[in-house]
Every structure is written in C-alpha cells, then in structure tokens.
Amino acid sequence: MKKTMYEKIWDSHLVVDEAGQAPLIYVDRHLMHEVTSPQAFEGLKLSGRKVRNPHSILATMDHCVPTKNRDLPIADPIAKKQIETMADNCRENGLNLYDMKNPNNGVIHVVVPEHGFVHPGMVVVCGDSHTATHGAFGALAFGIGTSEVEHVMATQTLPQKKSKTMQVVVNGSLSKYASAKDIALAITGKIGTAGGTGYVIEYTGSAIRELSMEGRMTLCNMAIEAGARAGLVAPDEKTFEYLKGREFAPAGQYWDQAVAYWKSLASDEGAEFDTTIVLEGADIAPQVSWGTSPEQVVGVDGVVPSPESFADEGKRKACEGALAYMGLTPNTKITDIPVDLVFIGSCTNGRIEDFRIAAEVAKGTKVAPGVTALAVPGSYHVKKQAEDEGLDKIFIEAGWEWRDPGCSMCLAMNGDELTKGQRSASTSNRNFEGRQGKGGRTHLVSPAMAAAAAAAGHFVDIRNL
C-alpha cells in the first residue's frame, strides 16, 4: 500500500494497537520549558514514578526569562520560582537543561534544531503548541498538555488517535520579499484556524522545496495556527546538510545508515491524502494580519475588510469584534496603519536567516519617531552568529534594541509587553486579544515587513522599496 510520510512515521511508532483503547505510540524526543512542565514533575513525584528515558529530553528556559539585565535577579517572584523549579526538576531527574546562563540557552524550538536533537522520522513532543516547528525535518512533532508531559516522562509513549492527512501544495516560486511566514499566514487565511483541526499537514510543491531549513521551520511552526497539530516537510539534501555535524546528529558509521533511512520517509508517489489544498507561490503577497485571529490576514496591498464582506455570520461577527478591539475602520489601506512597537523574534521568526533579512531592510534606516523596535534573537547562538556577521550593529545604529534570547513579546510573559491600545508589527505567531499585553493590538508579519514598518512608522509594501 502506498503511504504518506505521516503514515510511515505513525506505523513505525505504534507500540500497542488493540481494540477498545487508543493506540499507544512511542516518543523519541521530549522537549521542555518552564511553563508547562512543573505540574507534570509534581505529578510524577506524587505517584512515585520516574522519568523512563532521561536522554530523550532536552529542556530550556524561555517563556519567562528577561531579555535584558540577565545578571540581575528576576524581579517577578512567581516567574523566579518557576525558573528555579525547572532547574530543581531537571537536576533531580538528571535531564539536560540549557538554563538562562547557559551559552546554549534560547527558545526551545530554536535551540533544539541548532543542536541536531530532532531527526527525520522521529516522534517529538513538547508541552507547547509550536512543537510543530520540527516537522520541517520530517519528524512528527506536536504539542501536548501537561498531563501528557507527565505521561511521556513516565512511559515514553502517548495514547493517540490517528490524524487525517492534508496536503498543502505551493507551486512555483515565491516572489521577492515573500517568505515562509507569508505562506503560513496565507494558508491560515485560506483554510481558517480550524481548517486543519484533526489533520497533519504535509507541505509539498516547488516553493516549499526552495525554502531553507529556517523557512521550513517557520512554515511548520504555524501549522497549529491553521488548527493542525503537526506540519511536515519531506527531508531532502538541505535537511541532511543542515543536520550533519551537529551535536546530537548521527555520526561516524551511523551517518550513512541514518540518511538511507531518512530518504525512505517521503510520501510514496501516488499516496492518498484525505484532502489537498493548492496555492500558487507567485500569488502570495507579503501578509499582514488585521484582526485578532491568525486567519484574519490580507496582502499588504489590501485594505481592512468590512464585516459585510463576509457571507458567513460567524465570520461577520468575528470581524466586527476584531475591528473594535484593533481600533480599525473598514477599507483602511494596510499601508496607512501606524505602528508603535516592532518585534522581531520568537520560535516563528527568531533564527539567523530572519535577522539577516531584517537587517538587509533595516540597514541605513532609522526607527521612526515614537516607535520602539526590539530585536530578540531566538537563542544565544543566533545572537552570536548575528554579532559575528555585524548584524547587531546594523540594528543598533538604526535605533533598535538588541536583546538576549527568549520568547519575549510573542506572549509577553517576561515583562516585554504592549500597553493598552499600543499597536505592534510582530514576527510572532498569534494576534489573539491581549496576547502581547492587555489591550495590545498585534499585527503579524514577516521579518522584512517588520523591519520596514519600524523605519516608516507604518506598514510598507516592501516589494516597492
């Protein structure tokens, strides 16, 4: 039988498949951060259970960590306790932790690929919905809840229902300045935030093949914004090249053996997907979200829609609510929307390629009066690499703040946040009400779009620069 990549990975990880209970699948890699793990460790301890396979776990601190003045104690006592609890839990259970002071520290989904910890064909979980990122390597990677974190620690398995498969084909090539972020937003705009619910998405087509590994990570990262728990890209020479030589990648005698296996993972020619969506790469303009859901997006050359433009009553109501929250009027040109704060970073767009592209746009500009611009590398390695390339100087000379790594303004848990009514151009993944601070207004964009908005003080069609 012809199989999709998802089915191949699923079949190779089935431990128990018996009538009357959910199939149990084996978990190869378990990623952790400080926010969704403490209650899982507590549960484990209370039940007298142990971590079954400590070497399958890699942990970091990212959500609550300050992105400046790291030498000072954390001011928020509750965040401080969460950070300390993470350190204690990892020490007691013998887990590999990149704590705040560790040179490997950063956002979990940026750090993990840097060290080659995820390989094609693996099953990877984390108490974080953006675990989907690692599908870029052809690994089945998805977010889980804290009870499941405990379950995986204790058993190295998870009861799972098999997902349906969705193929998203992006034909042709992207136009200049359109990026993986724009593909992700365009897909979410097309199918909606529930469009992928119950599915695992496999991204195919020439525009996907042309993406770098960083771009594929950005794309898969946002599979969850379209409702899919996981996104997948078949591994190819770019994947192998990226992994080779990294700390946890197969080495020596095992490299060729691993690559041969990885090459067998791609969906079989003619394998059937439950549903297929097709986009033309050349049609994807740089995207800007206008509302409070990642499906509320439009090309930068468009306008803010009116509620009446939606036939569906639910969408019409959602549009009304979003416009009221966002302080926008229908038919406003996207390029006329001003911004107060610009954020480049997060597990979506905090990698070296993102800062290279943004620096190219920011070079020789100045941040517009009244605008605050934050560049927050996804990890210390990204930060160092950027500094080695002189990118930090470009940002600093343009008036940006150059910070230490962390989730920062993506979800504003660490003190970096919008105040009520402030409007951001953000390279993160969610524009939900209050996500970046109560009353804050978030517009999701790519790094190039963010950098251009910082200089202009409003959105700009970067294709015209």
């Binding site: 009357g20 084996y26 190869d28 306790k81 969460q82 804290t146 969610r430 009400e433």
Partner: protein, 203 residues
C-alpha cells in the same frame, strides 16, 4: 480524577466562535507551579474591569449563570496554545461539561485528562440549545454520559458520540498513566527493537 456522574446543572451560554486559550487563561497566570487556583483567573480579560471589579457585560457574570457546570460555546473552542492551564481554570471555576460544534485538538485532549466532558454537536443542534438558553437564562440541563445523552426542558435534547476509551476513563476516573503502564513489557520490547533499527539514537 473524580468519576464523571450523571448530573443536572445550569447551562451557561458563551455565543462566541474561536475562543482561544489566551482568553481562557491569559499568560500572566501561567507562572504558577501548581495545578490549582486558576478558576478566579478564567477569562480574566473579559471578566474583570481594569479596576478588578466584575464586568457586568461579560456573559458568565450574569447572575442566572452562577453555579453553571455546563458551558455552551461557539465553534473551534480552545484554539491556540497547548496550555493545560485552560482546562484547569475551566474545571476549577466549576465547569465539568462543554458543548460546542468543534474544539482545537490539544485542548480537547486536555479536557478529558481533567474530568471535563467536551461534547461535539452539529451546528443545528448547537443553535437550538443556544436559543433555549437565550430564551430561558438559568435553564438546567441533564448530562448523562453513560447513555451519551443531554436532556433539556424544552425538548432540545440530543445524543452524542464519544470515543469509548475517553468515555470509560471519565466514568471511572481512571489514571491514563496507570493504564499505559499495564503495557510496560510491550514498551520495553519496542525499545529493544528500536535500538537495533536506530542505534544512532541510543549511541
């Protein structure tokens, strides 16, 4: 986990689609290291005014919905982040049942780990139930998981589908991990074979 029993309860109405987990429990409340005490923060940004007083406009603040155990909400409930703090807050507030047309996958799983029955209904069925609550705020429904049935006074009751495994766990209040560990020999056998097939993962 407490076993899920047949019960009569007030059904509260939240006629909104795409209610996301950032709304259910905003990020500033995710720093705790305990599982308890999230109920007072449920829907914080909608529920409270800036001065901390109750927002009278917010639906769950209506006196008629006080003490409700059933939450009736629009499509795609619980989308967004994987935070289990969302169902912890919902359960701690007092809900044990949600009725909607659809849920985000991770949220749906998380509900059942915390004794919350998430019922999926058709749009037509949801519209009827919502209309009944709108017309009679404070109305009481009966939820009977054993017979997969919801009964309403105006006769808009329905039967629902649910995975038998999830149903069994809710009814018994059983611990998932304990059930999985009954298969520990199979897990060990899988690992032996896994080491042979993928030695580089264990090197």
């Amino acid at each position: 986990m407490e076993p899920y029993l047949k019960h009569d309860s007030i059904a509260a109405l939240m006629d909104r689609n795409n209610v996301d987990t950032d709304q259910i429990i905003p990020k500033q409340f995710l720093k705790k290291v305990e599982r308890s005490g999230f109920g007072i923060h449920l829907f914080h940004d909608w529920r409270y005014n800036d001065d901390g007083s109750d927002n009278a406009e917010f639906e769950l603040n209506k006196p008629a919905f006080k003490g409700a155990k059933i939450l009736v909400a629009g499509d795609n409930f619980g989308c967004g982040s994987s935070r289990e703090h969302a169902p912890w807050a919902i359960a701690d507030y007092g809900f044990n049942t949600i009725i909607s047309t659809s849920y985000a996958d991770i949220f749906y799983n998380n509900c059942f780990k915390n004794g919350i029955l998430a019922i999926r209904v058709s749009q037509e069925q949801l519209d009827k139930v919502m209309a009944e609550i709108s017309a009679d705020e404070g109305v009481t429904f009966t939820v009977d998981l054993e017979n997969q049935q919801v009964i309403t006074p105006a006769g808009n009751g329905f039967t629902f589908e649910i995975d038998p495994f999830r149903k069994g766990n809710l009814l018994s209040g059983l611990d998932d991990i304990g059930l999985t560990l009954k298969h520990v020999d199979k897990i060990s056998a899988y690992e032996v074979q896994h080491k042979q097939s993928f030695p580089w993962l264990w090197a």
